[in-house]
């Protein structure tokens, strides 16, 4: 005869309400972990998209995402001619805010050379960029549709292809345009600014600047060796794909990661305190029952079982409902929430441990109950 189950059944409504409250709390914990996973994935998706082995940036920098990097566009030719490099492409990255009829649209613009590394790996609809100017591939998250026109800077672009899941580390959806267009967008001054610079005696008009050169190396060549050659002979900074991902995780999303990690930890502690209080209150409500059980000869393990089993049931049901809620509503979050089975499993184990520890307070109270309380007098 399972006393814990019988007691839960007796006050089912109250128990389920408690579980619901706990499930919301655990759902928030799970969503925080999912937001963190989404943050890391968003940060890496742009770096992984070109499918390259080597990132060449301005000397002394760790660009293009962690730091600003500007190198001449013709560096791409020099890199492409290096031993072991099979393909190289120059790329620019910039954030822009485009004006639409229904409001402003924040975008992360990637300028690449069609046919060379740096463009989108996969299109969900439409076609790649085939013209030198004014064509755009946009991610579905922009809300843009094929054939739609959008003004960026002083030029208007037509959406010819759509990608899915392409976002920058800040969460802004990515659009791809040609390198030439992006250089104009990023570096070409407005006519008034050109006149001002000319008046100051500055040279203007040179826009062949890029943020990074991406390269693929032959399968038999180690990317590290090419990195060493680039650093030594070309007076540039270079890193492998793994190095770039490491920078993104350690630098670009490090603070957000710590913040979310700390917040998740605090939420877990709050959950532990709340579970402990609920179990303690539930035990307080049962003091006379516990005294009666002791009086009729129930061993301590029966009484401990009653309390711990209820705490575990509360934790497991709370977690299951919380996980279900988050899995149903994760797509409504402004940023991507990625729920991984292993994260859920780890959180479930933590919840079980927390429930067992939190029930300690109730167990301590129950074990101190004097069986004579049942008799009174």
């Amino acid at each position: 005869m399972n006393l814990a189950f019988r007691d839960i059944r007796h006050s089912l409504g109250r128990f389920l309400l408690t579980c619901l409250g706990l499930s919301l709390l655990l759902g928030v914990v799970l969503s925080m972990i999912g937001i963190y996973r989404g943050l890391v994935d968003d940060a890496l998706v742009l770096a992984r998209s070109p499918g390259v082995d080597l990132w060449v940036v301005e000397s002394g920098t760790r660009g293009p995402f962690a730091e600003s990097s500007r190198i001449p566009g013709d560096i791409r030719e020099a890199i492409a001619r290096m031993h072991g490099v099979v393909a190289a492409g120059a790329v620019t990255y910039q954030s822009v805010e485009a004006q639409q009829a229904h409001g402003k649209l924040r975008l992360y613009v990637v300028g690449y050379e069609p046919g060379r590394p740096g463009g989108p790996r996969h299109l969900v609809s439409g076609r790649p960029i085939t013209r030198s100017h004014y064509e755009m591939i946009a991610d579905q998250r922009t809300g843009l549709r094929l054939g739609e026109r959008l003004r960026l800077g002083r030029d208007t672009f037509t959406v010819v292809g759509l990608t899915d899941g392409q976002v920058a580390s800040g969460g802004d959806p990515v659009v791809y345009i040609t390198l030439l267009d992006s250089q104009i967008l990023q570096f070409e001054l407005a006519p008034a600014a050109v006149r001002r610079e000319q008046a100051r005696g500055m040279a203007v008009g040179y826009t062949d600047t890029v943020n990074v050169v991406l390269a693929r190396v032959a399968s038999q060549v180690q990317a590290d060796k090419v990195v060493d050659q680039v650093t030594h002979w070309k007076h540039l900074s270079a890193m492998t794909q793994a190095g770039q991902e490491e920078i993104l995780i350690r630098s670009v999303v490090a603070q957000a990661r710590k913040q979310i990690g700390l917040f998740t930890g605090i939420l877990l502690m709050v959950s532990a305190v709340i579970i402990a209080l609920i179990v303690y209150t539930m035990t307080m409500d049962k003091l006379r029952v516990i005294a009666t059980l002791k009086l009729i000869g129930a061993p301590d393990r029966t009484i401990i079982g009653l309390i711990v089993q209820q705490a575990l049931a509360m934790g497991v049901i709370g977690f299951a409902v919380g996980a279900l809620l988050i899995s149903q509503f994760k797509d409504y979050f402004p940023r991507r929430v990625i729920l991984q089975p292993q994260d859920g499993l780890v959180l479930a184990l933590i919840v079980i441990v927390v429930c067992v520890l939190a029930s300690g307070l109730g167990v301590r109270l129950a074990l101190k109950v004097d069986p004579a309380t049942a008799l009174g007098g």
Partner: protein, 239 residues
């Protein structure tokens, strides 16, 4: 200290189920010392229903708690069902098991577990004694029928009347066939008719199962149902 041996009168007395020799219990020390029981000597034979009377604070409940192995006496000796359980110290470490095997408790307000139905409230004692499910259910049902509440076997505690609940509580107290039944004001929450029914049931149990029943009571209307009545005054026991 006053000492009194008060055996229950029988033609040829069988071995007592409850045997107390010089049991004392005090709480606190020095100026705060309270002597709840003073040198109590008592024997209760099988089949007898004994009443314990006394004003509030006279030590009735303490005596019941001592016999029920809930409160440790300060000194003296105690035998339950022929087994020495106390001799200036507990002689058995597993007092809860002792209670489970030998003692049944009946409370003033039935103290049924609210989350179990009538049958389960009786069965829980048998399950604690590790009886199998079939035997448990049969015995619990048999007891409920014996106490004429079998038709309420599946009723939740909150749906039982006061008399029904007390009879289920008696069934629970009898579940493990205890030789000693301790009752704390078993009729206090009942009207006089139901109180007499409950006391008659206890007499029936004592007679048929050769159990010893000790009941603390203030209920004058059931005094005639006791075989013997003892008075506790300032910790002393008198007939």
């Amino acid at each position: 200290m006053q000492s009194s041996v008060i055996p229950v009168r029988t033609e040829s007395p069988p071995a007592p189920l409850v045997k107390l020799r010089g049991i004392s219990k005090h709480f606190g020390e020095g100026e705060t010392r309270v002597d709840a029981l003073r040198d109590i000597t008592l024997e209760v034979q099988p089949g007898k229903v004994i009443g314990l009377l006394g004003p509030s604070g006279s030590g009735k409940s303490t005596l019941l708690n001592v016999i029920g192995c809930i409160v440790e006496p300060s000194n003296g000796r105690m035998q339950l069902d022929g087994e020495a359980v106390y001799d200036d110290r507990w002689l058995r470490p597993d007092l809860r098991q002792l209670r489970l095997e030998k003692i049944g408790f009946i409370f003033q307000f039935h103290n049924l577990l609210p989350f179990l139905n009538s049958l389960e409230n009786v069965a829980v004692v048998l399950r604690l004694a590790k009886r199998n499910r079939k035997e448990t259910n049969e015995r619990a049902m048999e007891l409920l029928d014996y106490l004429e509440v079998g038709h309420r076997a599946n009723a939740s505690v909150s749906h039982l009347s006061g008399g029904e609940a007390q009879r289920v509580a008696i069934a629970r107290a009898l579940a493990n066939r205890p030789r000693i039944i301790l009752a704390d004001e078993p009729t206090a929450a009942l009207d006089s008719q139901r109180a007499r029914i409950v006391m008659d049931l206890l007499r029936k149990v004592a007679s048929e199962q050769q159990a010893a029943i000790l009941a603390v009571t203030h209920d004058e209307k059931v005094y005639d149902r006791f075989d013997q009545i003892f008075h506790l005054r300032d910790g002393h026991l008198d007939e």
